[in-house]
């Protein structure tokens, strides 16, 4: 293989820069300017009016509640009345709660199993899409589900899979006289997983494609001249050059999968008293039900403890992902 991948690996500076290459040079020129230039001095005075409102709103409505969550998770509290400091007891309690364990397990299933399925499918789709005719049409269509509220898919699934529904009417001519009970409590979660794969893959395909499209065509031509097989081209050109985009996608999925709530909440349509069957709960649903369902005394401590654990999961994974992805980024 004589593919020109000898470029130096990207340094830390390039990796930390949120925008690709251009700003690096621009920043350098900005630093090279005289520090005392009058517009810079004037600009610095704008700190409070420009950054202030955003900073205050963000701090009060986002950071303070996030810190508050950690604080509440250390207390036993029913939302009103006195808070009792119990230290890490809430964490110990939810780890002994089978309901939490199964909810958290479901979140991990979404994160890893659904994530893996999405990535394999999205990457396969990207490879096919890369040089097919009409790729813009396909890309535009598969991206659209990302803009639809997940509630819609949950409600539609209830219609499509109900006993007299469309899936069974499709299966009947194929000789399936006794179709599975799709919406039985145990089957809902696997169905949610399948639905999520179908509705999320398009979004990640779009992002991966943006990465693959960035690869200059002469690398492929070089491959063709060197007689590389399709697999070699994938292994030595496409994968190394899109590695950082994969990293971004993995971070995005980690963050968004832990939040999944709406689709679980309504999946299967009118499934009962407003709370979905416990088998399909995720950590987010566990938090909501424990605090707001109105079915039992609200346990704010346990609910926030579950949420804080989700946040810890995200933080650990994002740090690990950044570590794992850092080495292999190739500048081109």
């Amino acid at each position: 293989m004589s593919v020109g991948l000898k470029e130096p690996r990207a340094g830390k500076a390039a990796l930390h820069n949120p925008d690709s290459r251009k700003p690096v040079t621009r920043k350098a020129s900005a630093q090279g300017r005289q520090p005392g230039s009058s517009i810079d001095v004037q600009r610095k005075k704008l700190l409070v009016p420009f950054v202030g409102p955003a900073f205050v709103l963000y701090t009060v409505l986002f950071i303070v509640p996030a810190l508050g969550a950690v604080w509440i998770s250390l207390h036993k509290w029913a939302g009103s009345g006195p808070m009792k400091f119990v230290g890490l007891d809430n964490y110990g309690r939810i780890f002994r709660d089978p309901l939490f364990l199964s909810s958290f397990g479901n979140t991990l299933l979404l994160l890893f199993v659904v994530g893996a399925a999405i990535f394999i499918l999205a990457f396969a789709m990207t490879l096919v899409l890369r040089d097919m005719a009409g790729k813009k049409v396909v890309r535009n269509v598969i991206f659209f589900p990302h803009l639809i509220n997940a509630l819609v898919f949950g409600v539609l699934a209830g219609f499509i899979f109900n006993p007299g529904g469309m899936v069974n009417s499709l299966l009947a001519p194929l000789g399936v006289t006794d179709p599975p009970k799709w919406l039985a409590q145990d089957n809902i979660f696997p169905l949610i997983m399948v639905t999520l794969v179908c509705t999320t893959t398009g979004y990640f395909t779009t992002i991966l494609m943006a990465g693959v499209d960035r690869i200059p065509p002469y690398y492929y031509e070089d491959c063709a001249l060197a007689g590389a097989s399709a697999f070699q081209r994938l292994r030595y050109v496409i994968l190394p050059l899109t590695w950082d985009v994969f990293g971004t996608c993995a971070v995005l999925w980690t963050i968004s999968s832990v939040k999944i709530f709406e689709i679980v909440w309504v999946f299967g349509g009118s499934s009962g008293a407003g709370v979905p069957p416990t088998q399909s709960w995720t950590a987010a649903v566990y938090t909501y039900v424990n605090a707001f369902s109105g079915q039992s005394t609200p346990a704010y401590g346990a609910a926030t403890a579950s949420a804080v654990l989700s946040l810890a999961l995200i933080s650990v994974l994002v740090v690990l992902l950044r570590r794992a992805m850092r080495r292999d980024a190739v500048e081109f």
Binding site: P49, A54, P145, V152, T206, Y218
Partner: protein, 301 residues
């Protein structure tokens, strides 16, 4: 033949990005063929599903259940009227529209100056602030749910559209600041410098030079906020309690849950789904390219 091969890279360059370069055209394997076929199948099914959903919204429940594959016999708006009146979708649509537009405008109006400052002034403070804003990107909504509810309850802002708007603005800050900072960095500095030489104040440069230049990026940020606020469910579900305050997703959930008791009204439900989806479709058809670019490049790194 050999001549053609020699010229191949040249012609490829000349064709630019359009079409497939001849060097790549050789491989037409079976697997690829199947892949292409499957992709078009996915596209066909997606479009069909959308059309089907809209079509069902014009049929009554009995017809839908008898034959879910059918097409509407006539353009009957009965479902929409019922959803509008019985299902409280009218007031919910209004609330959603108001909340979405108001909070998105304010989010961008507040985030843009901040992003401008962070993109133009480079020192330890701004680097720290940028990091501080980025932190929020990783915090899932369920973490702040309960403290936010407790806090807003103390100042009587739960079950209030104003409260919800405030929350949406605060929660959207990290992403919008992040996106716009990257965008402002990509703008040329020369015009600002020229304006500064002509004696324009720093604020004047921002207001009269940078903002007009940044129209595209700001519109993208605005539309992305519109989409996320229109679809936001968990916070609205938690913070709103009375029916006349519901936003569309919350109204949809309560409509689904009512059906447990009143029997399934699939016609009305499909009408509700169409009301949630259609505005997104309109925006997508109108500004689609901008959106995909904003979402893929903005989140790109």
């Amino acid at each position: 033949m050999s001549e053609y091969k020699l010229l191949a890279p040249l012609t490829a360059r000349r064709r630019g990005r359009r079409g497939v370069s001849p060097a790549l055209r050789g491989e037409r394997s079976v697997v690829r063929g199947i892949g292409v076929g499957l992709l078009w199948l996915v596209v066909a099914i997606s479009i069909a599903a959308l059309v089907w959903m809209v079509a069902q919204a014009f049929r009554d429940t009995r017809a839908i259940l008898d034959d879910p594959w059918g097409v509407p016999a006539s353009l009957d708006f009965g479902n929409f009227v019922r959803a509008w009146t019985v299902g409280d979708f009218a007031v919910a649509t209004w609330n959603s529209l108001l909340t979405t537009v108001l909070s998105s405008v304010l989010t961008v109006a507040i985030a843009a100056p901040c992003a401008y400052y962070l993109s133009r002034v480079d020192n330890r403070l701004t680097r720290g602030l940028s990091l501080y804003f980025i932190l929020g990107l990783g915090i899932p909504a369920q973490v702040i749910l309960i403290p936010l509810f407790v806090m807003l309850n103390k100042v009587y802002l739960t079950d209030s559209i104003i409260g919800l708007n405030l929350v949406y603005i605060g929660v959207s800050m990290p992403f919008t600041v992040f996106l716009l900072t990257a965008f402002f960095r990509s703008l040329p500095l020369e015009m600002e410098e020229a304006a500064a030489l002509d004696g324009t104040t720093a604020f004047g440069t921002f207001w009269r030079i940078t903002l007009p230049l940044a129209k595209g990026g700001i519109l993208t940020a605005f539309i992305l906020q519109v989409i996320s606020h229109w679809n936001e469910t968990l916070l609205a579900l938690t913070l709103l309690q009375s029916t006349e305050k519901y936003t569309l997703p919350v109204a949809l959930i309560s409509f689904v849950q009512q059906q447990t008791y009143s029997g399934a009204d699939w016609g009305g439900l499909f009408a509700g789904l169409v009301m949630v989806v259609l505005p997104m479709l309109v925006i997508y058809v109108w500004l689609g390219r901008r959106l995909t670019e904003g979402l893929t490049l903005g989140m790109g790194k």
